[in-house]
């Protein structure tokens, strides 16, 4: 498998405060990598460096390099808008727009002018909703407000919205942390399904979730990357003592 994302010696600062220290990591194509670690360990910050979402935070600074398909996303010639189209993101709290279900999914298609006609737009919206396993539940009420959906449905709508622009990488920041077990299970099944087409990086608080959905797991603590290994190995025979202490529940 080839490396889709390649991070080298990444440091990250919020103003004077350093949040990430010397992170080097590779993520292969069509692989699910889970980021685990205690609260405040920098896993979300790290995820947000991959689509430059931290750019919106005043005083945020990055050192080191992040390459996607071999090109440095922090290079001055990189267009951040194009980058974010290629690297989609699903957030911890579902954040639908104050629009209809249809318009929520259509928004990304519209702004990137990906559709050729009205029917093409409708087809793309349907496909995205199907891929997010939401179509059957909403097909009869596409024009109603997205806020009328349940929490789990809203989160799948946000996934559909991200898929609609056909990204290559999908970043998921604790996508199921606010959901009940049934909705969580649906999201997890979805992640496994989406792996066939997308490279996925997922932050999770839930170690069982990491074990269920990911191929590889990276363990972060205090802004440092402690260990990366195939998930199987990570949860049975980790290299580091710290990792073992964390996953066996000795702290965190």
């Amino acid at each position: 498998m080839t490396n889709k994302i390649s991070i080298r010696e990444l440091d990250f600062y919020y103003g004077q405060h350093q949040a990430l220290f010397d992170i080097s990591l590779d993520i292969s194509e069509r692989e699910v990598m889970a980021f685990i670690g205690p609260s405040g360990c920098g896993k979300s910050t790290f995820l947000r460096t991959l689509n430059r979402m931290n750019d919106t935070i005043p005083g945020a600074r990055v050192k080191g390099s992040v390459e996607i398909d071999g090109s440095d996303i922090y290079a001055s010639r990189t267009d951040v808008v194009t980058l974010r189209r290629k690297v989609g993101m699903v957030f911890q709290k579902s954040n639908p727009f104050p629009k209809s279900i249809f318009e929520n999914v259509a928004y990304g298609i519209r702004i990137n002018r990906m559709h050729t006609s009205k029917t093409d737009l409708a087809d793309r919206v349907e496909k995205a909703l199907r891929d997010a396993a939401l179509w059957e539940e909403v097909k009869d009420r596409l024009n109603t407000s997205a806020f009328g959906l349940s929490g789990g449905q809203q989160q799948r709508l946000c996934i559909a919205r991200a898929l609609a622009v056909q990204p290559e990488v999908l970043l998921m920041d604790e996508p199921a942390s606010a959901l009940d077990p049934i909705a969580t299970q649906k999201i997890e099944e979805l992640v496994v399904e989406l792996k066939k087409d997308y490279t996925i990086a997922i932050v999770t608080h839930n170690m069982q979730q990491a074990a269920r959905v990911s191929d590889k797991t990276a363990f972060f603590m205090l802004g440092k990357l402690i260990e990366v290994n195939p998930t199987q190995r990570m949860f049975t025979n980790p290299d580091e003592k710290l990792t073992e202490d964390y996953i066996t529940g000795r702290f965190g």
Partner: protein
């Protein structure tokens, strides 16, 4: 036993404080109710069809305030046409791009401008518009109303836009939306009802202004639709009637006051109606 005493003291203190604050609330609302009742009682007797549809006549011959109603409407609308877009635009800038020295300066000056007595705005526009044109006009009146309106609208718009959750912006940015589209497509619609409320409240505010119109639009005994001529307004008309020597004029001032308060109330009710919760 000691705990009982403390408990009793706390209960007494609590009921005393509740009573004091409630008394203040009653006092505040009572004044307003008294004022409105007084205006209603005093004004109602002088209102009739002629009063609403006729222009002023010499004292004792009746007449009405139709020209003032029309004048107030024209100048308020014209002032809003100047003031709302500029105010909203400035508010969007402050909220979305104003986290720099320029934004802070604009914010500080807006707050200062909101606190400036409106008669000063009147004098300013008098110097800037009336003197060069060599006459008072509805246009000058509208400009002074717009100047009063802009900082209010700018600040409320900014507040409303800042209330739009960051997560919603990030959702749009993550889809590859450029900043201006995030503002236009997502943030503005999400803040629309709040912005509309702020705008309408500013409209209500300027429709009740007198001082800036005294220097700029002055008054007009006749019906006028021309914005380059003097124009009557409800507020200035009330001022004239109220300061006149005859009891009939005072009667008419009360009636005109009732009309003005009624219009402002109507705008406020409209705001409530337009911004009622939809979801």
């Amino acid at each position: 036993m000691a705990t009982d005493a403390i408990h009793r003291r706390r209960q007494i203190l609590s009921s005393v404080m509740t009573t004091v604050t409630m008394a203040c609330a009653v006092f505040a609302i009572a004044l307003l109710v008294l004022l409105l009742t007084y205006i209603a009682v005093k004004g109602f007797t002088a209102i009739n069809w002629e009063f609403l549809t006729d222009t002023p006549k010499p004292v004792g011959e009746g007449g009405g305030i139709a020209n003032a109603i029309v004048g107030s409407a024209i100048m308020t609308v014209l002032g809003s046409i100047f003031g709302l877009p500029i105010g909203i635009g400035a508010g969007v800038y402050l909220a979305e791009f104003g986290d720099n020295w320029f934004g802070s300066t604009v914010r500080f000056l807006s707050d200062t401008l909101i606190g400036v007595p409106s008669i000063i705005t009147g004098i300013f526009v008098y110097t800037l518009v009336v003197l060069p044109m060599a006459r008072q006009s509805a246009l000058a009146g509208s400009i002074s109303l717009a100047i009063i309106m802009i900082p209010i609208v700018a600040r409320t718009t900014e507040e409303m836009i800042r209330l739009v959750p960051k997560s919603m912006r990030e959702g749009a940015l993550a889809l590859g939306a450029p900043q201006w589209r995030v503002t236009w497509d997502i943030v503005m619609p999400a803040a629309a009802s709040g912005i509309a409320t702020g705008g309408m409240l500013a409209v209500a505010r300027i429709s009740g202004e007198t001082a800036p119109l005294l220097f700029t639009a002055l008054n007009n005994r006749f019906m006028s639709y021309y914005i380059d001529e003097k124009m009557s307004s409800l507020t200035v008309q009330i001022y004239n009637y109220a300061t006149g020597p005859f009891e009939v004029e005072h009667q008419m001032a009360w009636a005109a006051t009732l009309i003005l308060v009624g219009l402002i109330l109507a705008i406020n009710i409209l705001v409530r109606f337009l911004t009622r919760k939809r979801y």
